[in-house]
């Protein structure tokens, strides 16, 4: 594994992200839009019935959402890289496919983590949530592991999809079900058996659960904290990341990624 190559791939992701002002603003503004529009509405519906302000309940889920968008969409850059030809420059470099997959995933993870940290710094004071030190550290672990799993998943999608249009479609079918079945907006345990089973196939569900452990410890007694054991959450996220990375590496190395399109363009 070439550390310098990984660093190069990660550094490029950051430079590109920071240069796209719209993307930066969207990633920071999006959770507040949800907080205001969804949060205020649901808080009014549920007012009085619950022991927790819905906006507080939403906070871990919104951070999970920031990581999901941040890391999953960072993998989008692999599709643009393919379309713009940059991916070929990377593929002809003397590095292994697994190094490319790792660099891309790490870049996505760090981007997602950085966005989540910025949003956490703004969001938590707004909803009057003050995590304990242990809670904050567990939250950081949750964000990093979720970023890894999301980045790897995004890379698998990006590596198996050829064009941007296709990618946008798939993202719509992936992002929203993933968000709703993550426990970000309502507890997973209230879902029916089938949907609950689907939720547990969703990496974001483990990330959000871990974030609830980290931030909603005070409401655990009332049933609003994490539902699964912390080690299970961590283990599941690590497993998603490893399987995703392995799959992405083999998909990136799949031949025809370079020449087949050239051949098609000709006929």
């Amino acid at each position: 594994m070439s550390a310098r190559a990984v660093y190069g791939i990660v550094a490029r992701e950051f430079v590109r992200f920071l240069r796209q002002r719209g993307r930066v603003l969207a990633s920071i503004g999006r959770p507040f839009v949800w907080l205001v529009f969804a949060g205020a509405g649901f808080a009014a519906v549920f007012a009085g019935r619950n022991q927790i302000d819905y906006r507080v309940y939403m906070a871990p889920g919104l951070l999970g959402m920031v990581v999901m968008f941040g890391s999953l969409l960072a993998a989008l850059s692999t599709v643009t890289d393919r379309e713009a030809g940059v991916l070929r420059m990377v593929l002809v470099a003397p590095i292994r496919r697994s190094t490319i997959a790792f660099g891309k995933t790490l870049g996505a993870t760090l981007l997602g983590t950085a966005q989540a940290l910025v949003v956490a710094g703004l969001l938590l004071p707004v909803v009057h949530l003050r995590p304990t030190l242990a809670g904050a550290l567990l939250g950081l672990v949750a964000v990093v592991l979720s970023g890894l799993a999301m980045g790897a998943l995004g890379l698998v999608l990006a590596a198996s999809i050829r064009s941007i249009e296709n990618f946008a479609g798939v993202m719509n079918f992936v992002i929203f079900p993933m968000l709703f079945l993550s426990g970000a907006l309502y507890p997973v345990r209230h879902l029916g058996l089938v949907l609950r089973a689907v939720a547990y196939a969703n990496p974001l569900a483990y990330g959000v659960d871990l974030l609830k452990h980290a931030l909603l410890g005070a409401w655990a007694e009332a049933g609003y904290g994490g539902e699964l054991p912390v080690p299970l959450d961590c283990g599941a996220l690590v497993l998603f990341a490893i399987v995703g990375l392995a799959l992405a590496a083999s998909l990136l190395g799949r031949e025809g990624g370079v020449t087949r399109t050239a051949l098609r363009g000709r006929s």
Partner: protein
């Protein structure tokens, strides 16, 4: 015995039912300026991608810089530079950022990469534009950056896949100047693919490729003499039965 820069034996590649390259036997010598001439779809790019380990051969073997393209892909990629038909630069990054990105991919330490990038930028007359995003550059300048990127790690063999495609005549001339200067200053082996006959003229040797098969091989003078004609264009016609231009895009 000095190893050939490139040694292909019975090399072939199929895409499903399409036989992109049949059975290529080819030896490119160290330091040679070698041309692969043929119309679009003749198998030139496929051949280059096989040599660059971007494709796995369907049959046959090839050694590039002494390394087997199937078993020693990393060593092959370390020894070669490849300038693709279309630019591979990141349009949103500046020239310097693109070159620095490439330097890291090739694991060049910063202290080696920095002066080397400076030299290349000066050599390719890009110093003034070094901090401009690539998307603001002309086609000729982008091509120059592509080539600078391709030789940044000082490869032994440089592949140029249709390097002048889409360039205006002036940019073409300056590109050939650069390639000539580059070869003069080093023992660099250059393999060029082109469907322009005039671009194959300055090559030491030319292989004529048609529909995935090697139709002729020799120096431009030999090829013309053997076919009893005066131009490489006619050589192509004599060997394949159809003119180069008409099969364009086929």
């Amino acid at each position: 015995m000095t190893a050939a820069a490139i040694d292909a034996r019975g090399l072939g590649k199929d895409f499903g039912a399409i036989r992109a390259l049949d059975q290529l036997d080819l030896e490119v010598r160290e330091g040679e300026f070698f041309g692969l001439l043929g119309p679009n779809g003749a198998g030139k790019t496929t051949t280059v991608h096989l040599f660059a380990t971007l494709l796995a051969p369907s049959r046959g073997t090839a050694r590039v810089a002494g390394y087997d393209v199937v078993r020693e892909g990393l060593s092959v990629r370390r020894s070669i530079g490849l300038v693709f038909q279309d630019t591979t630069l990141d349009r949103d990054l500046t020239i310097t950022e693109n070159l620095r990105f490439a330097a890291r991919l090739w694991s060049l330490p910063e202290r080696v990469a920095r002066p080397r990038i400076d030299v290349l930028l000066r050599q390719f007359e890009l110093l003034e534009r070094r901090d401009d995003p690539v998307r603001t550059l002309s086609g000729g300048m982008r091509r120059a950056v592509d080539i600078a990127r391709g030789i940044l790690h000082q490869p032994r063999i440089l592949f140029l896949d249709e390097p002048t495609a889409g360039l205006d005549p002036r940019a073409r001339r300056s590109l050939w100047e650069r390639i000539r200067a580059l070869r003069a200053g080093s023992g660099l082996t250059v393999l060029l693919t082109t469907h322009y006959v005039e671009e194959a003229e300055p090559c030491d040797r030319v292989a004529v490729l048609d529909r995935g098969r090697l139709a002729a091989l020799g120096t431009p003078a030999e090829l013309k003499q053997a076919a009893g004609v005066r131009s490489l264009e006619e050589v192509f016609l004599a060997h394949t039965g159809h003119p180069l231009a008409e099969t364009d895009g086929g």
